[in-house]
Symmetry: D2
Subunit: 356 residues, 4 copies
Amino acid sequence: MVKDEMGKMKVALLGATGAVGQRFVDMLNKHSYFELETLFGYSSAGKRYGEAVNWLLPTELPEEIKEKNISAVNTKDLDVDIVFSSLPSSAAKEVEIKFAKEGFPVLSNASAYRLHEMVPLVIPEVNPEHLEVIDAQKRELGTEGFIVTDPNCSTVGLSLALKPITNLYRVEKVVVNTLQAVSGAGYPGVSSLDIIDNVIPYIEKEEEKIGNETRKILGRLENNSFKDYNVKIHASCNRVPVKDGHLENVYLELSEKVDLDEVKEEIRNFIGEPQKLKLPTAPEKPLIIREEKDRPQPRFDKLAGSVPGMSVTIGRLRYGKNEKTLLFSLLVHNTIRGAAGCVLLLAELMKVKGFI
Amino acid sequence: MVKDEMGKMKVALLGATGAVGQRFVDMLNKHSYFELETLFGYSSAGKRYGEAVNWLLPTELPEEIKEKNISAVNTKDLDVDIVFSSLPSSAAKEVEIKFAKEGFPVLSNASAYRLHEMVPLVIPEVNPEHLEVIDAQKRELGTEGFIVTDPNCSTVGLSLALKPITNLYRVEKVVVNTLQAVSGAGYPGVSSLDIIDNVIPYIEKEEEKIGNETRKILGRLENNSFKDYNVKIHASCNRVPVKDGHLENVYLELSEKVDLDEVKEEIRNFIGEPQKLKLPTAPEKPLIIREEKDRPQPRFDKLAGSVPGMSVTIGRLRYGKNEKTLLFSLLVHNTIRGAAGCVLLLAELMKVKGFI
Amino acid sequence: MVKDEMGKMKVALLGATGAVGQRFVDMLNKHSYFELETLFGYSSAGKRYGEAVNWLLPTELPEEIKEKNISAVNTKDLDVDIVFSSLPSSAAKEVEIKFAKEGFPVLSNASAYRLHEMVPLVIPEVNPEHLEVIDAQKRELGTEGFIVTDPNCSTVGLSLALKPITNLYRVEKVVVNTLQAVSGAGYPGVSSLDIIDNVIPYIEKEEEKIGNETRKILGRLENNSFKDYNVKIHASCNRVPVKDGHLENVYLELSEKVDLDEVKEEIRNFIGEPQKLKLPTAPEKPLIIREEKDRPQPRFDKLAGSVPGMSVTIGRLRYGKNEKTLLFSLLVHNTIRGAAGCVLLLAELMKVKGFI
Amino acid sequence: MVKDEMGKMKVALLGATGAVGQRFVDMLNKHSYFELETLFGYSSAGKRYGEAVNWLLPTELPEEIKEKNISAVNTKDLDVDIVFSSLPSSAAKEVEIKFAKEGFPVLSNASAYRLHEMVPLVIPEVNPEHLEVIDAQKRELGTEGFIVTDPNCSTVGLSLALKPITNLYRVEKVVVNTLQAVSGAGYPGVSSLDIIDNVIPYIEKEEEKIGNETRKILGRLENNSFKDYNVKIHASCNRVPVKDGHLENVYLELSEKVDLDEVKEEIRNFIGEPQKLKLPTAPEKPLIIREEKDRPQPRFDKLAGSVPGMSVTIGRLRYGKNEKTLLFSLLVHNTIRGAAGCVLLLAELMKVKGFI
């Protein structure tokens, strides 16, 4: 292990200048476990980070990060414990496996390997036990490196919200409609000409991701083989002129009558291993219930939680036409809990549990 | 009948300065059947229309309308053939019945009487036969006056889209999610502080309206009694920062396997009485199907159709997880087809068919 | 003096539910000098604050404030040391003088008395010496009460930015163009229908205010009489679809050639009494200079400063066509430094200096 | 001359898929003088236009245009009378001169040659006499080809508005502040992440362009040499979240006292050669004055005029601090009158006057 003088683990970041990459940089700043050692870039390689990045966050970019040089993507002489990836999917496909084969643990926010049969797709509070497949993956690769992934931003919100409900009941059907923020498309991403005074009822590949990923996350790992949770998921995804925060309207059918109060109680009390282990990026409550009639909303709830942006807010929880159907709305900060924050929390969990 | 020198019927308008009222004024300008005779207002009574109104439309307000005086709401000396109403529901409750009892046909966009057992709730292409209840209503009121209503803006889009599908199949369940424009809330309506960079997952009473109204519209009139269409409708309504045009994502469950091509064909060929009668405000096609992967969108489709804003655009028509489920998105111009235009088309139909 | 058990001064707030009123409530929460004792309202009187207010801020409204009852506006039995006012101007005209005559110090953000010959119009860092007129005002009123005002939100930004420049040079002419946020119009304020995909080149009375108030603030108090700073100010004010933060583009003509570096240095080093006295709401630097070519921007700079929103950011400082002309852009948070924060800082200064 | 069977001139278009290119395509559709023969593209060469373009306009793209193939940029075998260019400036520099040297008249909206001493920079109503330099330019190039340009979108609005005023008075100083729409930056242009709930007080090179171009346009051509109009112009340019329509706030200093009514009259009566010649794209009035206190606004005025988008709207015309200063706001549709429409009108004028 390559610890620095503070005893921190050293990390590299693939895709450092993108919208999610910037969240990684921001959240890794002064992190108690990890030290951002290497910033990788393609067209930006050779430049200082401060020059190359179009910094989007309200926080000031720290001077020492601004001055850091961006390296060409290369495993040679790389001396880090973890490689975080926020690459576009096409690049990730090729690059992440290369780093894994060279012996690096790759923790990725890219979609390339999420559904791979040997790659865990993990939300730390929901299915940390899926990490157990890593040994088999290592054996397959023949190195100490491996790939672990976190889900698509909309899936994170949905799966987190479903978890406590599936603790109580069998969920048989999900109809989910999303109103997704533009930062979900990266930077520059969505042209202002396309989205001012408009909404777009289509996001490429998003609807399939929500279905496939949610079924994998809520499923079981048995003998190093993933068994999907058996639920029909119908997703319709929309882009809206909001900067941060995906809103999702969820309709559920369950196998039996539901006790609404019991569901609320289960959601309110829901915690996972990150909370038990008091990990630095773990919010006290992964799920927050609001009782107001018009919540959640991006403006109020995107930074919800004791670690801002790491809690998913649930509101308008109500019966449908009968007591075997439930409706609610949820709000997930797409680049924090839905991306960089989820991977970072996963890294913290994996460190404490000895996976890295 | 009170025809003017051009042989046009004279009409009065309740709620003339509101967002829907302005659409009425705009669409009645140079109308071939109707002449806008009387503008009613409460706080604006006594003012000239040009002074009282905060005109929102890109068209210039005609000089002769600007100069018209707004009258206090009163049936005395009222010499018109039809009263259009775009009042808020609370005012409508009291006022519309008064006009009806005084012998005026009231064609209303307000929600107050939509679900009344003697009041037809009509989309001209969908359920014109419901108008037959008017005679019974007149008898009940003991006058020649009566009330006819058109649906909520979101319902218009949904019911129009469902009609050709119900011609082919039994629809058993609908899960509909709306992304509704701010003009749907009237003027001034939604504060900019509430909606810039935000969405709101709640619109008061809208979800119930969509369910109840759609069931009535798709239902039958039997012996002057309305029998609802038997379908479960689960609606989740959202306000988005778009000026005009409601987008709706629709999920359907049907009683049998569906032939997608047949559904498309039925939608494409769908017309109603207004088309057969070539009414002035009837678009050639009430429903337009788009094959692009990312349509409909408010910016492109809100003014769709040969009469701008009178056609509903349907896109992304696809199977769900099996062939008994369908998904699609639709776009309806909320203040044209979804409000003033629907009532106006209804008036045209009623005139031609002798109801007024 | 009416101190509570913590030794804090008790304050009342007029206009507590408005956009600026909410900022007062937020900034007074856990304030070290002041305790919010009484919330006044008109239509909201008798309700709990949590019911009556449409809370707009991302911070959660504290439970104890939610539970507070709103009182009818009345000086009877009022037991506070200070009355803050964020009333609309018309109400302020009548109400503020009543409170002053009853012996209360009224610190107001309303425009009603800003240009009154006995009322100081003060930005704490710019013209605290204007407070000396208070004694004369008290004599005139014949009580211990008085009125003190802070400027219009756009004026605060402009006057703060001009102050260090006027320390070095005579400013002879100002052409200022503003791009003002919707929160400047209060709540509900600007209708979303008026401002989505639009800008409006007019804000009622704003242009005159900027001219008249800036001249008074930069002027002198001599023998209890205000002498305006002699400068021509031409303002053009625009409303833009931004929630918070007024941007102003400023063009200056000076009486002599300007040394740009000297101006920057003077701005960078500029502090006032609040900084010297280390008042709780005083930012370390009232003015921040950015060197990037495209700053300030509302999204990045509205919460600038060690006390978020209390610093004005200046950017793009450059010569015009010759060295006697200067151009720059500034950004002021309109409801913090431009309203509630400015009054609160003023109250802190007045407390420490013994005016209250 | 290469006329088609309808006797129309054939034209080629450089930069056909961009935001301005699309306006050209739209405005050339069914044009009575010109037939769009050749669409040039770089990365899109070889594709059908319907595939390659991300069509942004509300009008439907005509089928025959959708089916047209995009050609690689090449003068070989090119058989057209005119080449329109909406290339980015860097590409224009190299390409336009090549086409001119090969004998083609190039009418360009690019900035590359606007300030060239042999190239006319023309608004058809303002300085058509500058076209006389073309003969000298041809001699210099040694071919029948040449380059003619139209100004930057903001300059078009400013110069058109100033022209009638300079007919009456000497304008000595201009301070102009712009609020520019995102379509001015092309497509995809401004990222939605940069502009939602924000404004940006900087547009690269725009401020210099407004100054330099306006001085050239209002200047004289003497013996084939351009003499700038002698006026100091200070511009500050801002990007705002508006799709179409640049708003400009203008402050003027004149050499003598101004009669405001006379100025209005001159603006109202202002026409140029295009109006006298009744050219197809000439609006009846190039300038429209609005008397409302809050106009012009993008939403209402961007499509002003008898040819939608070809008239500039002026509002809030008023004195400044004395009668030698004037202030007003103007609105110009940046991609119609400010770009494609201006070049097209110029082409019509040049055709009728025999330049092409």
